[in-house]
Symmetry: C2
Subunit: 190 residues, 2 copies
């Protein structure tokens, strides 16, 4: 998606260690027109998976998952990292190592909103190591639901996430694929 790649080159920053700063338009400040366009593109590419629900993780997955949901016309559920008082005692919970946080986080979904009949599309801002997405896959599987696709705004291929998800045998779509961030570079694949 050229508009996104151009924005990454203009406003993104390679902080080293594989960390891409996109705080100015994706995950602290959000450019609503760009995020809406990302949602529309993910929806177009993944509609063939016929999802009935989108699943993401708070916090930075919410914006792209919501705009994708608006364009697909299906509900979106965001896994919580702590259990709110409004959630029932019986929950789906899994642990996922967070690369950027350097620790393990909990991902929690209420069984009220994830059922065995669902076809789940997982959407997140980044596909990096794939650990968060694998955590969401486990939550969907715990509910008996079928995971039918994965969509990410930005993929960093050198962190191996696509390989980690390959065994699922489902479509994986990323809007900007970055193949190399060594020496301050930001190199896109095609």
């Amino acid at each position: 998606m050229d508009e996104l790649k151009l924005r990454i080159l203009t406003d993104g920053k390679n902080l080293g260690g594989g960390i891409l700063k996109v705080d100015g338009f994706i995950n602290h400040q959000v450019d609503p027109a760009l995020m809406d366009a990302c949602g529309q593109e993910l929806a177009t590419r993944l509609a063939r998976a016929k999802p009935t629900k989108i699943l993401t993780a708070e916090i930075s997955g919410i914006a792209p998952a919501l705009t994708t949901a608006i364009h697909l016309g299906v509900p979106v559920v965001y896994a919580r990292k702590s259990k709110p008082v409004t959630m029932p005692d019986q929950i789906f919970l899994t642990l996922a190592p967070s690369h950027t946080k350097g620790r393990t986080v909990e991902l929690i979904v209420s069984p009220e909103y994830l059922g065995a009949s669902e076809r789940v599309l997982i959407v997140d801002d980044f596909l990096a190591t794939g650990q968060t997405i694998l955590g969401l896959v486990r939550l969907a599987q715990a509910a008996g639901a079928k995971v039918v696709g994965v969509g990410a705004v930005i993929e960093k291929t050198f962190e191996g996430g696509r390989d980690a998800l390959a065994h699922l045998g489902i479509p994986i779509e990323s809007l900007a694929v970055i193949t190399d961030m060594t020496d301050g570079k930001i190199v896109f694949g095609h």
Copy 2:
């Protein structure tokens, strides 16, 4: 906003103690069409404040703030509750007591995305005690920005938030105003 009030009556739950569960369509599972309609209505009602930026707090403020931003065509910034590695060392930080969490949370914004020339519209899912919104007001004021309006999806008048914000002298818009939740009731004002 009748569509929202009807949904609250159908799918919302009064859990007692002033806690309204809207996990099924606002803040765990999100109904994208309803959330988009809420954003459009907040944008229509608050456009006269001529905001240049929307400010909200993660987590559950993100969805309504983003859809409002899409309809107003201005960027949205969500205050973080912990500082990500991509944020500079010098930040705006304030503490806000969280009614539902029973503890104080940090609200953090990077000075990169909140400047003195901004006209800030604050959007959140709930206007209850007003403490989170007042925290966001302090962040905007620390940046030298002008707070020009407040928008909330649901207001609980009996928790006093509107009075706590009255000194700001700015428009405050809520899409569903709940005046009474005693004895399991959900009573709307007009």
